[in-house]
């Protein structure tokens, strides 16, 4: 198990670039295919923006992120955990948007983000502990090493 790498940041929308930097710096040199990095980035954006937009609204507060990677023979297990001390919010219980409809007027504009996370990651888990929202996402990624 790799060491835990953490980022503590003020949960502002404009800090998304710093969050991306943190993800890319830590995943780029680990034999992880670019495609997987982009998928992870996509999920991190959704979760971080939820915190930045809603957790402390209208005030602001802190967001914390932790990355842990475990290198196995064929794949790397990546666990990313998000913490905030805002209002209790469990995105995993949000109903999926119904995009099976063929009439575009019936498709809701919101709710897509967490749906993408659920469908892209191998695991997503929410906990509320000590006034903290803890959302953990996990993905097993095949390494590029031959």
């Amino acid at each position: 198990m790799s060491e835990l790498i953490s980022l503590k940041i003020t949960a502002l929308r404009e800090n998304l670039a710093k969050v991306f930097e943190f993800i890319q710096d830590n995943l780029n040199n680990c034999d992880i295919p670019k495609k997987a990095i982009r998928q992870i980035k996509l999920c991190v954006e959704e979760i971080y923006m939820n915190i930045a937009n809603y957790a402390y609204n209208p005030k602001t507060g802190e967001a914390r992120m932790h990355i842990q990677m475990q290198n196995n023979e064929q794949y790397i297990n990546i666990i990313i955990q998000f913490e905030d001390n805002g209002i209790p919010y469990d995105p995993t219980t949000k109903p999926d948007p119904d995009t099976s409809k063929t009439n575009i007027d019936n498709i809701p504009i919101g709710g897509l983000g967490i749906y993408l996370v659920k469908n892209t990651m191998d695991n997503i888990k929410y906990e509320r502990k000590n006034n903290t929202n803890i959302l953990t996402i996990e993905k097993n990624v095949e390494t590029e090493r031959k």
């Binding site: 998304l16 954006e45 959704e46 923006m49 995009t99 892209t120």
Partner: protein, 100 residues
């Protein structure tokens, strides 16, 4: 982002490049709304688009709805595998006209 309008103003191609995320998606929406007023045939060329988050998807969906309301067409072309994956996962692949 690059806009190319035909001489008669009825067709427009928008070349998207780089990354569309939560921070710049509102700018894209704003720019689009100002420029597609008279456009009947809108094409998004995604050849150089590397990243599209749900914020960008929302802009595409809103644009599709707008084009439909004025009986126009919207086509998306040159979609790379990763962006296509996002269209598949979200079911948007059925909603958009994607040209291969």
């Amino acid at each position: 982002m690059h806009f190319e309008k035909s001489s008669d103003g009825l067709s427009m191609t928008v070349k998207l490049s780089g990354e569309i995320d939560s921070i710049n998606a509102p700018n894209l929406e704003e720019e689009l709304l100002h420029k597609i007023d008279t456009v009947k045939n809108l094409t998004f060329d995604m050849k150089n688009l590397e990243y599209l988050s749900s914020a960008g998807l929302r802009v595409l969906l809103a644009t599709q709805k707008l084009m439909k309301s004025k009986e126009g067409n919207m086509i998306i072309k040159n979609v790379n595998d990763e962006v296509m994956d996002i269209f598949k996962v979200t079911g948007f692949i059925r909603l958009f006209t994607i040209e291969h």
